[in-house]
């Protein structure tokens, strides 16, 4: 594999500080096109901060983010969304007052271009654009098997379905890079299996590159192609699930080291 041309994202020497606290210390890793890349580590290791750096909520003090072979300038999150990066959140961040359908429709935001005047009179392409995007959204709804809750306000949905709607919103954007922050947190085994299947299907069928944070080691080792391990803001391991599993510093971080 020619790694340079296949790199979706290359993260180089990122340092992120909050005052005196160093959340991320000099971390570099890359994400290949079409792979499932997992980021794991104990609580407070800086995993979510890493995702926040990738999609622009945090601006690292040092280091570079290369996306599709170009060095990325400092950008606002909404600009990064227009570049084709979508994400879900650890604590569900859905629009509670809107229906599941409307929530997923918001994912199409970056694909809708009609002017405000066209939208005002619902003519001149605005309604046509709406229906075309609705069609894409309906495909996502079919894929995630949530047809029956289309018109339900998401605030009224159970947790597992909310997670699925949030994934739907990210998928509707047809992203090149999909960031998932603990997509399986708080789910039972069956829901986890469903979610893993969706992630694998997204990766296989649409060719979407996925970067995910997850605590369930079984799931991570099963579905991801390569794993980054973080601890206290440092990278302590990187490689295929098997390599990581046998890495001594990873074992130390997870199981602890005896003092003597």
């Amino acid at each position: 594999m020619n790694q340079n041309s296949d790199k979706m994202m290359d993260i180089k020497n990122i340092v992120l500080r909050f005052g005196g606290v160093v959340a991320i210390q000099n971390i570099s890793f890359d994400i290949f096109k079409g792979e499932i890349r997992a980021i794991i580590g104990p609580n407070g290791a800086g995993k979510s901060s890493m995702l926040n750096v990738i999609n622009g909520f945090y601006h690292p003090q040092e280091g570079e983010v290369w996306f599709r072979g170009q060095k990325r300038k400092s950008m606002k999150p909404y600009q990064i969304a227009h570049q084709g990066i979508a994400r879900t959140f650890q604590n569900i961040a859905l629009f509670k007052g809107m229906t599941a359908l409307d929530n997923i429709m918001t994912g199409r935001f970056t694909h809708m271009k009609k002017s405000i005047f066209s939208q005002m009179i619902w003519e001149g392409g605005a309604s046509k654009e709406e229906y075309e995007n609705r069609e894409v959204v309906e495909k996502v709804i079919d894929f995630l098997e949530i047809q029956h809750i289309r018109k339900t306000p998401v605030g009224a949905l159970p947790y597992g379905l909310q997670k699925r709607v949030e994934l739907g919103r990210a998928l509707a954007a047809e992203p090149e890079l999909l960031l998932l922050d603990e997509p399986m947190a708080g789910m039972n085994v069956e829901e986890k299996e469903d979610m893993s299947r969706y992630i694998l299907d997204v990766n296989n069928e649409f060719g979407t590159t996925v970067a995910l944070i997850e605590h369930d080691m079984g799931v991570v080792m099963d579905i991801s192609d390569r794993v980054v391990v973080m601890d206290y803001g440092k990278k302590i391991g990187d490689g295929t699930p098997d390599e990581v599993r046998n890495n001594q510093s990873v074992i130390d971080a997870y199981l602890g080291v005896s003092e003597h």
Binding site: Y78, A81, R87, T106, F109, T110, Q119, A126, S127, A173
Partner: protein, 358 residues
Amino acid sequence: MLYREVGEFKTSYAQDSHTFPIKFDRYRYYFVIIVGLLFIPFIINDYWANAVFLPFLIYAIAALGLNILTGYCGQVSLGTGGFMAVGAYASYKFMTAFPDLNIFFVIILSGFVTAFVGTLFGLPSLRIKGFYLAVATLAAQFFLIWLFNKVGWFYNYSATGMITAPSRSVGSFFITGSESTPAAKYLFCFLFVFLLAWIARNLTRGKIGRSWMAIRDMDIAAEIIGVNPLIAKLSAFAISSFYVGVAGALFFSVYLGAVEPTEAFSIQKSFIVLFMVIIGGLGSIFGSFAGAAFMVLLPVALKNLLVLQFGWSVDIAAHFEFIIIGGLIIFFLIVEPHGLAQLWNLLKQKLRIWPFPY
């Protein structure tokens, strides 16, 4: 029994996004439009126009505007009275500076002026939220009223400090001034309400409406899907202020004819419109109308009931009016915090399965 969606199958996304998806709703809506357009203008007199229809229609526009800002975009504003004053004074300046300009365009231009002013006062919303933003918009209210009292240019240096609408007409029908007829005023306002409600509906069901609601519900997630918060918030302020400005211009030129800013556009106006939006239902077009109807029609109905039916004296009736309306507001908010629009939806859901609820 009439109210059924059984047998109504949607075969396209266009049908699915109809404003009134159920046939009965649609017919009722056409009925209201036809009655409003072909029936009421012929029977309307001064009393009905001035006590009921004009304030209802004008407040409905203001409530639509505030609902876009507060209900859809989640930005609380207490500056509605001030922005209505901007619309009123803009229309006065346009009417006196360009006597040949059609009153229709005067009102529209006043809306644009208010949209500009509203956007300026919306800038703090990029930094502050909730109560703090409400206080910031309160500053707009006081500043604007002070400005219109203080600077003579706005009232053309008239001795009283009041502004009076000159006579203007559309075709041969006088809309403003002493020669205007109730029917012409009513139809003029009706036209604006119809147009603006239609535009509000289109905006709120499409991309921009969803971006407003996204900002309202979870601004961080809104950014993640590509919504620029600057554009979303300022566009809500601009469009909302446009509506409020049109309402202010109509309020001054068509309804009152002469105003004095401290009196007509006080902080009380801001609160009344905010109540309309809250009682009617935040984030609902129908709610804007329901709220305006509640706040405008109920006092009139109560007054008629107490004074004409029960024979109470006018001042006692006026006090009781306050008590009853205050009580009803509390009652409605406890029963249904999402407003009359939600009550209406619940009723419709009940009717849908009536008389076989199981």
